[in-house]
């Protein structure tokens, strides 16, 4: 009933999105608080835990996310220049990268479970205190991040559909701008997860 009053405010929408991203940062921030404290307490066990993780999987996933982050930024650039086909293929590539990331993650988790490395497993219960905590945090952090990859992927797929039917175009790119912002946040979180978990010595 108040639709008369609402004009489109792209700046406002962007500010709202950034504020949402801040709250997401703090959400993961809580896990980083725990990580910092437990790393300080169990440096050796964390290093041992880190060595169990696959640097190869981690690196490939990092490259995938960095690349997808670039392609979504390029997609926005393409849309602004009204090159819709280019925008669509760049978004398609981004979705593909998101999917590959999740597939890798699945393989990685599967391998860990096969090596009896999961919360409460016999191996971890016998390991010195701290190892269990490392893997608990690892599963929770990467799991929560994976959930964000899924949400971001669904969001971008929906945006791709909107671009295809011309609901989003160079004149009104706000939705893609905000979707891209969300995807970059997913990337940034991973930029920190990668060295902290996979590259510990």
């Amino acid at each position: 009933m108040n639709s008369t009053a609402q004009h489109h405010d792209a700046e406002g929408a962007k500010l709202g999105m950034w504020l949402f991203l801040f709250s997401e940062l703090l959400l993961f921030g809580g896990l980083f608080v725990l990580f910092a404290v437990y790393l300080q307490r169990y440096p050796l066990q964390f290093a041992a835990g880190g060595r169990e993780l696959s640097v190869a999987f981690g690196t490939v996933n990092t490259v995938l996310l960095l690349t997808s982050s670039m392609t979504v930024a390029l997609a926005l650039e393409a849309l602004r220049r009204n090159r819709r086909r280019l925008c669509e293929s760049l978004l398609g590539f981004t979705l593909l990268a998101a999917l590959l990331f999740l597939v890798n993650k699945g393989f990685e988790w599967h391998a860990k479970f096969q090596h009896d490395l999961y919360p409460g497993s016999a191996t971890l219960q016998q390991a010195p205190p701290g190892r269990d905590v490392f893997f608990g945090l690892y599963y929770l952090t990467t799991g929560l991040h994976g959930l964000h990859v899924i949400i971001g992927g669904v969001l971008l797929a929906w945006i791709l559909a909107l671009v295809r039917c011309d609901r989003i175009n160079g004149a009104s790119p706000t939705v893609l701008e905000n979707g891209a912002l969300y995807w970059h946040l997913v990337d940034i979180i991973w930029i920190f997860i990668f060295p902290l978990y996979y590259l510990l010595l």
Partner: protein, 543 residues
């Protein structure tokens, strides 16, 4: 004061009036009008408040005499848990910002709605879903949660009661709170009317702005903490299990990193309400506008640095106790700045003792008692003696009930004529107020005293020497409830039979009083251009 105006045409245009396009219930629960959403919040929050009061009365009834009176220990644990969850997450956190903030923020800054009206509706839906889930944890499964509203691990990871459901409910409520916060920040940045500069913002808006930042930045920590509880319960991660290398104190850190700033989510908007009421009823511009603004920001910032004072006896390091105790005293400074400014505004004013002012003045007194008893708790040495006693309970209720809830009632009386276009009976309102403050002080001052004498909280039984003060407290709870009931009845009568009033019965100078009562759906036919400050009262009066 407000002259009576023929209201027929006002009502037809007011936002309360049905447009007849949809079934009338749908017109409300799917409305994106900030005023309707605000009223939905007001009605639901009041309902949950009534439930919380009932649970509180049952707690007091059990404590009227030593030994088992009406419930056993398990039921008592459930009672204080649910009382806490309902009052904190369903009443006092959303209370002022979601109900009065939603209705008044766009009106006060000269906007037609909030920045994201549909998101606003989503927030209310999330709130209702979370509330229903929280209340349904009372029934079924393993029985109602018995952890206290703080859900401390490791116990909350092991108890077989419906903790998971309650925790998930609070997670959803937190999400609703974050969305409201980001909506308000964006609204204040983007939708101010021409001429509404930052130094012309009403102080209520400033307090909502500071609160919204705390909502956006602190609530996610609650979110992750609740996720961690669920992870402990469902996946058995053991992150806080000392036997597996975890640290139970880290749970307390994470919980209070949110829950202390949450206290400022609760009290900052209340302070905003008081800053609105006092100048209007003292007929003087607010004293020290900029100092009050700075103290709002200061409280929001300093409030994020003091969570450790909930953990003085937890086994935390002495260094941390020292640091957190020191930082806690710093929060007293901006709080006191506000109190001094309000008192300075009153000085030399021509004070009108209408109902909103009665509540505002009560806030000053009760909040000061609450704040001063807080210093006893903030100082580590004395805290060791009174920690986990009824002194803490008394302190908390002086700040939250005497502070925030009384400000909520003040806001209710102050904006009632604006929202509904009708005036309540002033005499009955004053009687209700009088009964409430008698009951309130009898109840909570007894608690402060019995706590100082060493009665621990959260037990259904106590030693015989505490019996007299506990009996007094329970009598107080009945008087307080009577006053609340009286107030509610008075306002409900006014909804139907109150005298129609004009746009500006209190002769205030903020923008919401320039539009009709109740405001039209689009708020302003023409967006106003602001040429004076929010408390330049000589500019006010009937339009």
């Amino acid at each position: 004061m407000g002259k009576v105006i023929r209201m027929g045409e006002f009502f037809r245009r007011g936002f309360l009036e049905s447009t007849g396009e949809q079934p009338s219930l749908f017109e409300w629960i799917f409305s994106t009008d900030h005023k309707r959403i605000g009223l939905l919040y007001l009605y639901s929050i009041s309902t949950f408040f009534a439930i919380g009061v009932t649970l509180g009365l049952l707690i007091r009834l059990e404590l009227i005499a030593p030994g088992r009176t009406i419930v056993g220990p398990d039921t008592y644990n459930a009672l204080f848990t649910l009382h806490g969850v309902v009052m904190i997450f369903l009443f006092i956190i959303p209370g002022i910002p979601a109900a009065f903030g939603n209705i008044m923020l766009p009106l006060q800054i000269g906007a037609r709605d909030v920045a994201f009206p549909r998101l606003n509706l989503l927030s209310w839906w999330l709130y209702i879903i979370g509330a229903i889930m929280a209340l349904s944890s009372l029934a079924g499964g393993g029985g109602p949660p018995d952890t206290g509203w703080t859900f401390y691990l490791p116990f909350s990871g092991e108890t077989t009661t419906n903790v998971s459901l309650a925790v998930f409910a609070v997670f959803i409520l937190g999400f609703s709170s974050i969305l409201t916060g980001l909506n308000f920040i964006t609204t204040i940045h983007r939708l101010r009317a021409p001429g509404m500069t930052w130094t012309r913002l009403p102080l209520f808006v400033w307090s909502l702005y500071a609160t919204a930042w705390v909502q956006v930045l602190a609530t996610p920590i609650l979110g992750i903490t609740l996720v961690l509880i669920l992870a402990e319960r469902i996946l058995g991660l053991g992150l806080f299990d000392a036997a597996r290398g975890g640290d139970p104190l880290m749970y307390q850190h994470l919980f209070w990193i949110y829950s202390h700033p949450a206290v400022y989510i609760m009290v900052l908007p209340a302070m905003g309400v008081i800053s609105e009421i006092i100048p209007v009823f003292a007929r003087r511009p607010i004293f020290g506008y900029k100092a009050i603004v700075a103290s709002s920001i200061g409280i929001a910032a300093a409030g994020s640095l003091v969570w450790g004072h909930h953990m003085f006896v937890s086994g935390m390091s002495d260094t941390a106790i020292l640091v957190f105790s020191l930082l806690t005293f710093i929060v007293a400074i901006p709080s006191a700045v506000k109190v001094f400014n309000w008192v300075a505004t009153l000085y030399g004013g021509s004070i009108r003792l209408d109902a909103p002012m009665l509540y505002a003045l009560t806030f000053l007194v009760l909040f000061s008692i609450g704040g001063l008893s807080g210093l006893v708790l903030g100082s580590a040495a004395t805290d060791v003696h009174v920690h986990d006693t009824h002194f803490v309970v008394g302190h908390f209720h002086y700040v939250m009930f005497g502070g925030t809830a009384f400000a909520f009632f003040g806001a209710l009386h102050y904006w009632f004529p604006k929202i509904f276009g009708r005036m309540f009976n002033e005499k009955r309102a004053a009687w209700a107020w009088g009964i409430m403050i008698c009951g309130f002080n009898l109840l909570y001052f007894s608690m402060l005293l019995v706590g100082l004498r060493g009665m621990p909280r959260r037990y259904y039984d106590y030693l015989p020497q505490f019996a007299q003060l506990n009996r007094l407290a329970t009598y107080g709870s009945w008087v307080l409830a009577l006053g609340l009931l009286f107030m509610a009845v008075n306002l409900l009568i006014a909804l139907r039979r109150g005298k129609h009033i004009g746009a500006n019965p209190w002769e205030a100078a903020t923008l919401e009083w320039t539009v009709d009562s109740p405001p039209p759906p689009e708020n302003f036919a023409v967006l106003p251009t602001v040429t004076h400050g929010p408390y330049d009262l000589e500019q006010a009066g009937e339009p």
